[in-house]
Subunit: 138 residues, 2 copies
């Protein structure tokens, strides 16, 4: 199997659980999100529209109050952390947003091109190393 | 001037302003925090105890509801984002926490060694690239 070019790593918190409810489910929402993203990525690839995205499960992104949570990162790009994601209804919207992220030069997607959940759900963003760009506002 | 070994980049949001108050001050709290961290780092270096930390001002870390905010990062280490930081009272505690971060192997400081503000103020953490470590809990 020949690996496709992969630029963007998307960390998916697999231990995210409901912030305001019991943790009785066999499969936590974060693990469900990972599985559904995997399936949706495979479906897009099978349809001839693969995304340059590699999913990386992670035990905790420390955003426990805003499940589900993912972080997109790549060398020389801003890292973005998004929360409040719903695996039941938002997987396609997440992938659309990740496609925009992957297509950007530096990880910053113009505001009007961001899906709604990537506007309301942003938890933090971190500049790429070495972070030597001067501050734009002081 | 010979550069000292510098491992850790600390992004400091210079546009952080009070979350629940007017923005009337000439110098925003984020800019004050940057200046006070610079001064405190210089003081520690002058006292013979320099920290391997380089401050990098950034216009916005998108944690606007939890000012002030910083992010510590380095190659092959977890990135941590902390908020709720007070430049008036917590600069030494921030530097102590950054020293622990810099001394760690992978950016993860044992819980009991973290200063209080790095326990309560954590906004998010992101694994180092390539993020290939298996999830510790599924």
């Amino acid at each position: 199997m020949t690996a496709a070019p992969v630029d963007v790593v998307v960390h998916v918190c697999t231990t995210c659980r409901p912030a305001d409810g019991p943790d009785a489910a066999d499969e936590r929402p974060g693990a469900i999100l990972l599985r559904m993203l995997e399936d949706a990525l495979a479906a897009r690839a099978a349809a001839g529209a693969p995304l340059p995205v590699r999913l990386a499960p992670v035990a905790c992104l420390s955003v426990c109050k805003r499940p589900c949570t993912v972080a997109a990162t790549a060398p020389d790009r801003w890292t973005y952390v998004w929360g409040d994601l719903d695996p039941a209804t938002q997987v396609d919207e997440i992938l659309d947003g990740l496609a925009r992220y992957a297509a950007s030069a530096d990880g910053i997607v113009p505001w009007r091109e961001r899906p709604r959940i990537f506007k309301t759900g942003v938890v933090a963003r971190i500049p790429p190393l070495p972070g030597l760009a001067p501050a734009a506002a002081e």
